[in-house]
Symmetry: D2
Subunit: 359 residues, 4 copies
């Protein structure tokens, strides 16, 4: 891997590529907004990295085994001044900071009054960021696809409601893009752009979303190993956008017999990921369990495992929700969750700080 | 679910939607090229389907539980004149017909001479359709992404080679699109458009690919159940494109210990899928196993399980391939595979015919 | 299902069986120590349960769909006077009570001094029950199988050390039986008998262990769904032994790529199981993660999820341990874990009590 | 690993153990019937194997990484004169030979007439070995557990029927042992002893079964990786019994959504296993799929994948079977399966032989 200086010229890049070819290797040039990274294709052991390091325009040259380099803790500390945890600021809220970040709202924006009422109530309950789905990914073409399916105007109207609810109740807002065609529109209204679990492997979408320049809320696919999850986050980092909030939202449950939860919330992935990368991890117990009666325990557990935040679906009347009513909690229940989780977060953080000091 | 007549007017559709709302339900209108399908959102049991069936423009109204209806065997027989297996014709080749369809070629198009040499050799070995990757989905941004990454011109040049190789050696060609932006370009050169496993859940891409009007080679995601796989194929059928070739290419292997194969080729999925839908299923033992030494056995096994075809990666010198050399076989080995598989296909088909006659 | 009165005679049982056969069904008579349960085999809907209920010796007759009935919360409340959580008392310790129960000790008993030193140190750190493996289940016949492999005398010596360490440091002790031949010996020294994950499906062993009359520490197999786990616990309950401590110790990790943890600790299983049965659930983060650096977070998470206790492997010098050193923590680390977990347990329990009061 | 000569004395073994300890390692002595194997515990790299090789009684000393050594193809060829495939002879039948071996019969022995009728019919259909379950492993204590549950006399009567049916229709018989207490009884009537999938990890049972001296039919657990499966087969080989027939019977299906098959028949495991060990592999499509309508295709596929045999459940009237009727086929269907499979077996074997000659 060769990292070019930010001021490197095209000619310098071309000249490095030429040198790479002399070793019988090919070069894969990734031009991000802030830097150009040149990957070596083929058996890197043939190459002389100390030679590459002396070429004009080259910041650094080294052999990499990991598919996620730019977001790794080690790399972040050496080259980007990253600490243990990157603090991603959105409005007045920080994800990855001292305080637990709470994202809440309806699964799906169904209308203005529904959204405003929920926004008001989750704000009172202690939420800091508002969520609401407009472009809904659905397993069945015969199911409700969200207001985003109502043409560009319908989608824009719903996005405007979300923006206005955020303004009114002083919360940054997050919503999902499902395809490249929606990025510009979503980016003009949302503070954070969500990439859903089913799009985790969609590298073209990831690169485009990253280039929109807003923080990205990036959900792990339910069939993805940790290394894949981080490797695809790297696609965004390679575009120069490192404001990536990772989200654990459940993996495939064990295959046989009745499923007691919709997915398996993979909580040991949280501390395991936090050892690998400085990017903060948030948990989504709502989609993971699909069960309202497990949200309290699994929220507490996620925070105890080291999550920097939670994304929780809430509704004043879960039975009335058009999508996923089974997994939503009321604002009152949310308040209780937030209260317990903030205490647990402090308990766990205290230990982590102690560790940092000692270690 | 309400199926409108093909000649139904917009007003008739609007009027049906109005009626649906009277039952406290919402309507999700999917306008395909050939028909409009109206999905009911909410508790369908509240609705009076016999009433809907009498409305002007309505072809049929019924309650659906399955998320894949249009591609189901039962529906195909009743409304579309589909038989046991849809025969998808591409040039002189039929997928789903009496003869086993063999798709072969390199994992990745690396250059014109590489492609032409492989095309010539797989043709001689008995292949009928040529494959070659240009837009490569890769786990790592630091890996070679295919010639499609070389800007529009580089991509178009590689696509032209593929087209010319197909013309020269009389084989239709198939290649993958990875994002919506590539569809027009790919559709103007390829006879069949492939949607890779990682894009199986990408409903926006599926709808756009379907609208390109060419047969689609649709790979199952390695974490997807059969019902999900068929539900996402339904997204394409809902756009009026039923020339969908399903491809089983391996699911997540068991989680612990060393993986002896890259994925687990889920062969019982093949006959299980064939009981559900008239769409033909093809197997890809190359990506599933990732092992050249297992291709012969797993190809034979896939055909014995009822596959209508095979997609196999081949290279005159597997050790030289830039991507996935471990799983490629030589043209000579391919010939041997095809010979055994054609015999097994006849053996198995004979039984299935006997069954149809008796049953 | 027909539950006989505890004083029912053999003749009464025989007569019920005869009646069952009149309905074209077969009977499966399970004679537990305290009750006889007669299962109906075949289509139960043919039978007249109100008739059975009137037969002499019959306590109750009803149709069952669940494979775990005797340990279900509903049944426990109706017939056995069970509350939300069964409190299993062992010496001065209660599992399932107000206080979190901590089981700690070495993975494997290696010698008397090793065991005594660890026992002393974990006791000081706050542990209440001592664990130590003597009959070790191992994947490879070529690995160390524990001191239990040293013939009956060697095994008995190790068991005696365990017993003495328990006496000396005032902790009940738990150790595993791997085969039926070891039950009597183990039962004569241990306060709690452990059945390991790999023996979860071993119904003959379960029945025999249950009959030994001591509390059983029952680990979930890494491939078992929750319903299977509970169904096999039912094998022990059917023998009249309901002092069963369920243990979640990790399920198969996702199949592809590098495993960052040995197994996936399935924490949402804990509250899900606690909705089904009154039996208490304990978590084992040591075997689940296989990583010392994740024990703190995953212990806290397990307790937050609702665990009634923890089983944690500890060693004064993890690097010296013969088996599983990678996953052991030191007594100092254990103390820190226990301190945080006791606080989280109180926080979470407070909410659960509030719930019970309100609900 | 140190292999002692078969004539090595106890003193020689003790002396080797002493030498091992000098290197700071421990020794695990496995005394099989035919050989003693000494495993080294600890970091083997500390040891001097060339020194061990010179000690009296030592046949061979080397470092091993694989947990399955004795059954590996490489070891078999070097020390035991094993070829590509071990041929296990039972009566007149050979498993692992030129001809496909067909094992068929009812899931469960329900009575003498049922068994005899099925035996007669499967024999006519072409089966060579008769199966019939007597000690049934069941998920629920409330389900029928087989005639083996009717006390020793009931069990022995059923075993005698099985033996007599085998004699009458000239087929060796195979039945399952579920616990150690049943081994002697089963071994006195059965030609092959089956260890079910749920007991795959039961190392105490495996050692005892192996010592009974009869061929073992060994089923892979549905959650076991290939390396675990072979490692536990090694437990039997370490007792000197290498007449082990491996059986692939399906692994856990993918976790979400409806299961179209009960398990996932892991057919690529068959050729993968055959590259590792000389032991023959048989497939059980009945338990794997749980669907009668998939048996034909999956039997053919298993043989195409390289299986040396098949175990298939059959019943003259599947709807009448007490257990697993959904997955049984009729003798007529069995005949059709056998006919197609024998042809495929020849086709595939021809290629393998060609390979051996060339390779």
């Amino acid at each position: 891997m060769i990292i070019m200086k930010s001021e490197a010229t095209k000619e310098e890049v071309a000249s490095v590529v030429k040198e790479i070819k002399k070793f019988g290797l090919k070069a894969d040039v990734s031009r991000g907004e802030f830097r150009t990274v040149i990957g070596l294709i083929g058996d890197e052991r043939r190459a002389d990295f100390s030679h590459f390091a002396t070429l004009p325009g080259v910041k650094e040259a080294f052999m990499v085994e990991s598919p996620y380099k730019l977001i790794s803790k080690e790399y972040g500390k050496r080259f980007d001044g990253e600490g243990e945890r990157r603090q991603i600021r959105v409005g007045d809220v920080t994800i990855g900071g001292d305080e637990l970040a709470i994202i809440a709202g309806p699964c799906t924006v169904e209308g203005k009054s529904q959204l405003f009422r929920i926004a008001e109530e989750v704000k009172k309950a202690g939420a800091q960021i508002l969520r609401g789905g407009i472009f809904k990914p659905r397993s069945s073409v015969h199911s409700f696809q969200g207001l985003g399916a109502n043409g560009r105007e319908g989608a824009e109207e719903a996005l405007r409601w979300l923006y206005e609810a955020g303004q009114r109740f002083e919360m940054p807002v997050v919503t999902e893009v499902r395809g490249e065609a929606q990025i510009d529109l979503v980016a003009s209204y949302a503070d954070i752009i969500q990439v859903g679990a089913r799009n985790m492997y969609n590298q073209d979408l990831l690169a485009s979303v990253a280039r929109a320049g807003k923080p990205v809320f990036f959900k792990r696919h339910f069939g993805a190993g940790i290394d894949e999850f981080l490797s695809f986050a790297e696609y965004m980092a390679a575009e120069g956008n490192k404001d990536i909030i990772l989200c654990e939202r459940g993996i495939l449950p064990l295959g046989k017999g009745k499923n007691y939860t919709r997915y398996t919330l993979d909580l040991s992935a949280i501390p395991a990921i936090q050892k690998e990368t400085y990017l903060p991890v948030v948990a989504d117990p709502s989609h993971a369990t699909g069960r309202r009666d497990l949200i309290f325990n699994m929220s507490c557990a996620a925070v105890a495992a080291g999550a920097s935040g939670l994304m929780i679906e809430a509704h004043y009347d879960p039975s009335e929700a058009m999508v996923d009513g089974m997994q939503m909690i009321t604002p009152d229940e949310l308040k209780e969750v937030i209260s317990a989780c903030r205490k647990i977060h402090k308990l766990v953080a205290a230990k982590n700080e102690a560790k940092v000091v000692n270690g």
